[in-house]
């Protein structure tokens, strides 16, 4: 009854599509079922207002795996950068902004010591990030499994660290688990510089600069650049949806079927193995393999059901930390915002509002206790500067990550959203006076909105906090970190597995490999 050769992929996010494409290339009969009316998941371009389009969740590409883009021929399927290698501009109230391009100061003034230390800091972080980047395409080793491939991948991880050299390896081990605030304090003087660098370490995370694991979070963010992501920090033409459109085209051209508007209500079982999925329409699809791009909690607790797992597995999944803290702001503007001291051409760079690391930490403190930050930190892009497909001529669209907003605010979500939008516009206006008058339409997505709209439990970009206890062979949980879940035929291919979030695709590819390896072994 169950069709052995068929694989169902739940969710057409980037990882689901990557997985579908690789499975289809390997000759599997692949059906992707997506709840939304279009593909993309959290890498999607949506209408904001008539004529305005915006990357509705993820808004920058910096992790997309080069090997995957090459193997799936994403360029051939229409993916191209509207602008590659964005600089980062740390906005200053007084207009003395800092413009950073990797480890070099492109413009602005820094104390001599900072100017001297910056390239070394950047190079070292990239070297460390490279250790993580090299794990992206490997299945994490199974602890105590003792299999040859497990030993190999554990050995490779060790070797990658050893190759850093003795002193850098010591430094890597010293800082990997600590917080970015302390590391920056050791290295730099300029508050503005420290603020901008600290923000990189906490974007999308439920962490403040003084939280442990913020260095790890930074290294994860840099890991794509470290292993040579094409285009660096970039804006795809057509928004982030262009990536998933290209992936969908690649999957289809390999023979995969993609069905949108088809929410899955449950994963069906026959004995101890999956037998397919049931859709909201009542339709049942049968397959011997079900790969879920949904987050771990949704996949295992909602679609499968805790009763089909053993107690400790269900317990660990329930305690997988997955509450998002990042909100997403979208503004349709009738003109280019005028940031004090910033030329119009630089308005298209990546702008950050984080005047110092304390500012971010103070913002985090409030959210930690259930309130939206009164002075949020922001990562802003105005992609329409480079990409005229996103807004009518002369008009612009602004997309910003705003931190922090708790997943479950003390106030009602509606009240918190309205107040946070107001505060965020207030902060923006300090740097771009008159911005409010340019706003044609606005949208603020709190983590609870992200959960609802993108079907990510907890509204966390990475499907779950990226921290040492939820990393590599512990992601999402020990014993189920090699994509195969503890139910026969069920796999996880999303950011909840190794190597985690960011629009990268490696989890999808590795999961496809795990499916194919398991079939070969059986």
């Amino acid at each position: 009854m169950t069709e052995r050769n068929r694989a169902i992929v739940i969710g057409a996010g980037h990882n689901g599509l990557v997985c579908a494409a690789y499975l289809a290339k390997a000759g599997r009969d692949v059906v992707v079922v997506e709840a939304a009316d279009r593909v993309g998941g959290a890498a999607v371009t949506r209408d904001l207002a008539p004529g305005f389009r915006v990357s509705a969740c993820a808004h920058l590409s910096y992790l997309l795996d080069a090997r995957i883009s090459g193997e799936l021929e994403l360029a051939k399927h229409g993916l191209k950068a509207a602008r590659a290698n964005l600089r980062t501009v740390a906005l200053a109230r007084d207009g003395n902004h800092l413009s950073l391009s990797g480890g070099t100061l492109a413009s602005g003034t820094l104390p001599d010591a900072d100017r001297a230390a910056l390239p070394g800091y950047h190079a070292q972080m990239l070297a460390f990030a490279r250790v993580l980047g090299k794990q992206h395409n490997r299945r994490p080793p199974r602890l105590g499994g003792g299999g040859r491939s497990d030993l190999m991948s554990a050995a490779m991880l060790g070797l990658d660290m050893r190759r850093l050299g003795r002193d850098p390896m010591r430094e890597f081990l010293r800082i990997a688990g600590i917080n970015i605030f302390d590391v920056l304090e050791e290295t730099f003087e300029s508050p503005l510089l420290k603020g901008a660098l600290a923000l990189d370490a906490v974007l999308g995370a439920n962490l403040g600069p003084r939280s442990n694991n913020s260095v790890l979070s930074l290294l994860h963010r840099l890991s794509g650049t470290a292993i040579g992501v094409t285009d660096g920090l970039s804006l795809p033409e057509g928004g982030m949806g262009a990536i998933t459109d290209a992936l969908a085209a690649a999957a289809r051209s390999s023979g995969a079927t993609i069905r949108t508007g088809s929410p899955v209500t449950r994963i069906t079982l026959e004995g101890d193995a999956v037998s397919g999925v049931e859709l909201e329409s009542g339709e049942r699809l049968t397959a011997g393999t079900v790969v879920s791009n949904a987050d771990p909690a949704r996949t295992l607790l909602q679609l499968l059901g805790a009763r089909h797992l053993e107690t400790p597995v269900a317990h660990r999944i329930r305690h997988f930390r997955a509450k998002g803290m990042a909100a997403k702001l979208h503004l349709a503007l009738d003109g280019l915002p005028r940031f004090d001291g910033l030329s119009a051409e630089n308005a298209g760079e990546r702008l950050v509002i984080a005047p110092d690391a304390h500012y971010i930490e103070a913002a985090f403190d409030q959210a930690k206790y259930g309130r939206c930050s009164s002075e949020p930190a922001l990562e802003i892009t105005i992609p329409s500067v480079h990409d005229r497909t996103l807004a009518p001529a002369g008009k612009h669209v602004l997309s910003a990550v705003v931190q922090y907003a708790p997943f479950d605010p003390r106030a009602s979500t509606d009240a918190a959203r309205a107040e946070f939008l107001e505060r965020t516009l207030g902060v923006l206006e300090r740097y771009a006076p008159g911005l409010r008058t340019q706003v044609v339409a606005s949208q603020l997505l709190l983590p609870a909105d992200i959960e609802r709209e993108f079907r990510i439990s907890g509204g966390h970009w990475h499907h779950g906090e990226l921290a040492l206890d939820q990393f590599l062979m512990l992601r999402p949980i020990p014993g189920a970190a090699q994509y195969a879940m503890p139910v026969n035929g069920l796999y996880l291919c999303g950011a909840g597995g190794h190597p985690g979030g960011g629009v990268m695709g490696c989890a999808g590819k590795n999961a496809a490999q795990a499916v194919l390896d398991a079939e070969r072994a059986s």
Partner: protein
């Protein structure tokens, strides 16, 4: 315990304490879970003799009890334990074990299917935490009601006659592992034909307020049937004769083990019959399937040992001299009823096969002088003492 001040009481007395304390002429007590409980009342050997020749009463109240109800009670229990609970029909009782996700036994106990969909789970250890963790995703209510149910084990050949005399009409028709309900002292007395002695016997369950009425009725009507109270020591001899294992003695609860090799799977406790791998999911199933493939580490055996010196805590060797240690004895007694020197033991695989030579190294003391003897052991299947009256239905009066 529902009241907030419970922690002020270090050790509880059971509802039977006003009677047990009078009968405990040796004033010999120990602590069982939160309760003070009799080790021996007057003479261990005579208390034991009552179990096998008359009837004996054991205060079972401290045993951990849980009430499990709700629409998902059955699927919840089936995910919890290794056997198929659907086979335990209403009015029936089943022995069971439950495992962690490594397939290692956390505890053993009994499931009472009191009435349709209404279950009682009795366990050796406190299990509320594990049961609550396991309840996620099930529509089930779990209440630990140890303190709300007074319980007695009433064991021995004349037990049925005494129950009839206190008003349990038709109790003789109860088959082993069955439950009956009888009106008693204005309340309901639940009687299950269960026990830890391997003999004809019952367990009696009643609301605490009526506990003394039950005790008094048993001793009044039992006077001519040789009724005696029994303490833990007498019960211990009977349970080893029956071949029953006990947590913390014959196996270590997996959730309390620090060292992985100290725990045992059901297969390693001779409980394969308690494992139904055709159930699609239960705690430990994946690990047990794996164990089936790669083989178990240990074998649990019942041993009949030469001589009359109990092999307590003995090492088991593969030959009498210059042999190697292949296991240890976990429980040992001289069996007065089987007239045999018996033991329960855990052996490393593959030992314990029919033709294997097994030798127990027994240390014993005579007038403070220690001696050592190597005694040959024979593996025995089933109980050491298994009288037909244990299963005969209707139960006879004797």
């Amino acid at each position: 315990m529902k009241h907030k001040e419970h922690y002020r009481t270090a050790v509880y007395q059971t509802p039977f304490h006003p009677r047990t304390s009078l009968l405990n002429v040796r004033n010999d007590w120990h602590r069982w879970k939160d309760y003070t409980t009799a080790t021996t009342y007057f003479d261990e050997a005579l208390e034991y003799a009552a179990i096998r020749n008359a009837c004996a009463v054991f205060d079972l109240t401290p045993m951990t009890k849980h009430r499990i109800t709700g629409p998902d009670a059955l699927p919840f229990l089936n995910r919890l334990v290794t056997r198929d609970v659907a086979k335990i029909k209403p009015g029936k009782v089943g022995y069971c074990v439950w495992c962690d996700d490594h397939g290692q036994v956390i505890d053993d106990g009994t499931i009472f299917h009191l009435r349709e969909g209404d279950y009682r789970l009795c366990s050796q250890e406190r299990q509320l935490d594990w049961l609550s963790l396991s309840a996620h995703g099930f529509d089930v209510s779990i209440v630990e009601d140890t303190h709300d149910v007074a319980a007695l084990a009433f064991q021995g050949p004349t037990s049925c006659a005494v129950l009839k005399a206190i008003g349990c009409q038709g109790v003789e028709k109860l088959a082993p592992f069955s439950i009956g309900y009888f009106p008693f002292a204005g309340t309901e007395l639940m009687v299950s034909r269960t026990g830890f002695t391997g003999d004809l016997g019952y367990e009696l369950w009643i609301e605490p307020a009526r506990a003394l009425d039950l005790w008094d009725a048993l001793f009044e009507k039992g006077a001519n049937h040789g009724i005696r109270p029994m303490g833990t020591h007498a019960l211990e001899v009977a349970r080893i004769e029956a071949g029953f294992m006990q947590a913390h003695v014959d196996f270590l609860p997996a959730d309390q083990a620090i060292r992985r090799d100290r725990t045992r799977s059901p297969f390693e406790l001779d409980l394969a019959r308690m494992v139904d791998l055709t159930k699609p999911n239960f705690n430990g199933r994946r690990a047990l399937l794996e164990e089936q493939k790669r083989g178990s580490r240990y074998r649990f055996v019942r041993l009949d040992i030469e001589g009359n010196k109990p092999a307590r805590s003995s090492y088991i060797y593969d030959r009498p001299r210059n042999g190697k240690v292949i296991g240890t004895v976990t429980s040992a007694e001289w069996s007065p009823s089987a007239k045999a020197n018996i033991a329960l033991a855990s052996l490393h695989m593959p030992w314990g096969r029919p033709k294997d030579e097994l030798w127990a190294e027994i240390y014993y003391q005579r007038e403070l002088h220690w001696s050592r003897v190597m005694a040959r052991c024979r593996v025995v299947e089933g109980s050491f003492y298994d009288p037909p009256r244990r299963r005969a239905t209707p139960a006879a009066d004797f």
